[in-house]
Assembly symmetry: C2
Homo-oligomer: 370 residues x 2
């Protein structure tokens, strides 16, 4: 770790078995912690990050200098209260902020590139559980996550039912839909169409597939926002001009905003990681991993043992709409697991879990402290 990167890291003592049949030896997990761990190690909360998130949950990002991605939720006196809880956030396997991924060095001394094994959300969770083992945390007070973070929370509950007392899954799903896969495939094709991608072997070259990655991010970003939210935020307002240019500059504010989102993203994210993590999400189908019935995946949580669950969806989230959360709730009900569920109203679409939604704060605090 350099001085600019305050995160801790843990190298797994054992090879990590992967759903694809391979094992990943010597994998490193980079993580951050906030708040003190109690002597009995009973106050730990694992927060799982989304696709392009990282361990900088509640502290400045070392590359962008921006605040942590969930500072509004995590900190002293905040809904996830670091005066009470020891909060852990780890960069997932396959990502690019210190945990082992395609940009990491393979055993042959060269970057993995596309030789990195394809991973699943369950593989990410296996890595997180190995980290918890290393930290000596047998049972979490809670596992919490939004979007892909929620997928990890559900996967941890399904595969390691004894490891968390509470499971809070926000704006998420237990399986990727055809439309979810379709949007990810557009992003992957945009990256792979960029000649600078070079079949993933761009690390030794001066240029990365930034143009393709920016397009992928732009397409994805639209899915994170609601139509009404976009209209409210941008409408058809022009950017720094009083009339249409009759050209191909970013006339509209929404165009300028998307271009900014796309280019900014390339400065902090690795294109191959984007390929691997979107693939992992597309492969997600927790029911399929457990014989085809989602209720069976949660059998370890029948009344009196296992975890309590809380599912939260947002009414304007069209990426992982309420029906997906309800599907999980029905399975938990069928499994006899204790679950509460709420659909919150918010104008922000899928990104609501990251934004100012006071009702979410209350739900999170109530569930964790209860």
């Amino acid at each position: 770790m350099t001085a600019a990167d305050p995160s801790q890291s843990y190298t797994l003592p054992d090879p990590l078995p992967l759903d694809g049949g391979q094992v990943l030896a010597g994998a490193t997990i980079a993580y951050q912690t906030y708040g003190e761990l109690a002597a009995d190690k009973g106050n730990a909360i694992l927060v799982c990050h989304a696709l392009t998130g990282d361990q900088y949950l509640a502290s400045a990002h070392p590359v962008t200098g921006k605040p942590g991605w969930w500072e509004r939720m995590v900190g002293p006196g905040k809904p996830i209260d670091t005066d009470r809880y020891h909060v852990i956030c780890a960069n997932v396997i396959g990502s690019c902020m210190g945990s082992t991924g395609p940009a990491s060095t393979a055993p042959d001394g060269k970057p993995w590139g596309m030789r990195f094994p394809v991973i699943t959300v369950r593989d990410m969770v296996r890595g997180l559980v190995a980290l918890l083992d290393g930290l000596g945390i047998a049972r979490l007070h809670a596992v919490v996550g939004g979007s892909m973070g929620g997928m990890q929370a559900l996967s941890l509950a399904a595969n390691f039912p004894e490891r968390a007392a509470r499971v809070l899954a926000i704006a998420t799903t237990a399986r990727h839909s055809a439309q979810n896969i379709a949007f990810h495939e557009v992003g992957r094709q945009a990256i792979m169409a960029d000649p600078n991608w070079r079949d993933g072997n761009y690390y030794a070259h001066g240029s990365a597939p930034d143009a393709g990655l920016a397009v992928a991010r732009m397409a994805a970003h639209i899915t994170y926002l609601s139509e009404a939210g976009l209209t409210e935020k941008f409408g058809r307002r022009l950017q720094d001009r009083s009339a249409k240019s009759f050209g191909f500059d970013a006339d509209f504010q929404v165009e300028s905003y998307l271009r900014y989102q796309g280019s900014g993203f390339t400065r902090r994210f690795d294109a191959n990681s984007y390929l691997y993590i979107t693939r992992a999400m597309d492969y997600l189908d927790i029911a399929e991993e457990h014989g085809g019935k989602l209720a069976d995946a949660f059998a370890g949580h029948a009344m009196g043992k296992g975890a309590r669950f809380c599912l939260v969806s947002f009414d304007t989230d069209w990426l992982y709409p309420t029906a997906e959360s309800r599907h999980v709730v029905h399975a938990l009900n069928a499994a006899g697991a204790p679950v509460s569920f709420v659909e919150l109203s918010s104008p922000f679409g899928h990104d609501s879990f990251l934004l100012d939604v006071p009702a979410l704060d209350r739900v999170v605090k109530g569930f964790l402290d209860g």
Copy 2:
């Protein structure tokens, strides 16, 4: 016209004035007709095509060999009955199937490329009206279109109220929303990120920006379908395999389908035309063109003069949702224009106007024959 291309064409005798302030001299409009024109020229119906459509409405496409894009709707005994009506469909200015666009030769003998003037939907309509002038058709029995075709129908009604007795606008809008613009901007950025685009000067080179254009088409294609329709058509079914490959091939049918849609599109469409036509659609705001109030745009249709209108939306169309049609209907009501409106139920999303929706057939026939 070659033998392989049976469409007719008309070169406008006068320069075409454009909203951007330029004029386009010597523009050609390629078109197709179906059914006989009555002696009084009173039975003509103009069908306007969508973004990537063309004049091959009810006859085989000369490049793909596929049936016309609306053969289910147009033909002898069909809802737009060519035994009764003379149906005209013209390729819009800016497109690439015979009408003048960026791939056409500019006055200096070289392809226009990005020197082609930026056009608007109203400019396309000006070209269509000039064609009608050339054909001696003073007043259409009807102007009909879905998606961008519906935008043209509404624009014709707003700007040339005396030219059509009936206006049928399907699955469309009078203004492009922030989300509409955002998706188009992703497509444009994908094209422009392709090194083969060469700032639009690719015609003399052996390679066009096919990779970028395919990504643009893939992203757009998702918006043409409903989430439920994608789930029903593809779900999470695998393509030609019994298990996940743990690789980056098209494991899922929806991936394979999208890739096919993307690559097939590049064989029949010009990337620069895609830039120009999406730009024209993004610029659409019929209210803005008429002082800011949509009702004022339709003032020429107050009771007893002008046209009768019919608006049709589909309940699963999230690209141009029912609210957009309703917005137009309210403006027509305010203008005192006769209008009927129906939201049809269909699983197919925006593409419903092209697909098997028997209720649409009945609405179209009833409105045109009534």
